[in-house]
């Protein structure tokens, strides 16, 4: 069983789809069984939002995706080189849905991430942006 996954993708949404499929496969191999499935799906959704965010806003020419299975959970990272870009700096609470004519047309990504994983951390190393998501999959 692979304990880690690493991909480098060009920043287009179709590559996020490919990365998500690879991540899902990695998680299912690391933590097989129906008990883990819901948490794996949650992690994949949060990861998708994080990758989409990097595609749309980071300005990077390449995105590195890393995942490792350890201590019953998954640590997932999105890494981009270049200027500092903190995707966690925006609003963190779920947008309020107003009456039927005022549904928000954006802004759910970060709030969804925070609801679905156990921790979100951003670090800037001076040359790389590193967004780390952690999710416990099995007890």
């Amino acid at each position: 069983m692979n304990k880690s996954l690493k991909l480098r993708i060009k920043p287009v949404f179709k590559n996020v789809d490919i990365a998500r499929i690879e991540l899902k496969r990695f998680c299912e191999e690391a933590y097989p069984g129906s008990d883990a499935a819901d948490r794996t799906t949650d992690l994949c959704l949060a990861a998708t939002e994080a990758m989409n965010n990097a595609v749309e806003h980071s300005g990077a020419g390449e995105i590195t995706i890393q995942a490792s299975a350890e201590k019953g959970g998954i640590i997932f990272q999105v890494i981009t080189a270049g200027r500092e870009f903190d995707p966690t700096a925006g609003a963190v609470s779920m947008p309020e849905l107003g009456d039927e004519l005022e549904l928000p047309e954006g802004g759910f990504g970060l709030a969804i991430i925070k609801q679905l994983v156990d921790s979100v951390r951003f670090d800037y190393t001076g040359s790389e942006n590193v967004l780390t998501l952690e999710k416990k999959i099995i007890s």
Partner: protein, 115 residues
């Protein structure tokens, strides 16, 4: 993602298969715009075969809902899968969007919303 559309007068059924995500969300958006231009006011969005949805897909659902309501129309989301239901519930969308478990329920709602 595959999009199949059947139009009957002012009513359309859109059947989606696959992942409703950022890379394909605009396809659904464009299809919805075409239907609005054709004066469709009742839309049944069949989500039985949508395996995964992200916030881009969710946004298109919201946009289409809003555009139809502004034209006194209606959209019903039919039989969302577990993964889609999860996102609808997490974001509160399940409180604001009309979601039907069965086709009969969806059609009944659309007829009742005729006024």
């Amino acid at each position: 993602m595959d999009i199949q559309t059947n139009v009957d007068g002012d009513t359309a059924e859109i059947t989606l298969s696959g992942d409703l995500v950022a890379s394909v969300a605009d396809e659904l958006r464009q299809q919805a715009i075409r239907l609005l231009e054709e004066k469709v006011t009742r839309v049944l969005l069949n989500m039985r075969c949508v395996d995964f949805i992200d916030s881009s897909g969710l946004n298109v659902c919201f946009e289409t809902h809003k555009q139809l309501r502004e034209r006194s129309g209606v959209i019903v989301f039919l039989a969302p899968t577990r993964a889609v239901s999860r996102i609808f519930k997490l974001t509160g969308a399940s409180q604001k969007l009309k979601i039907a478990a069965t086709r009969d329920e969806a059609i009944s709602y659309m007829k009742g919303d005729r006024n």
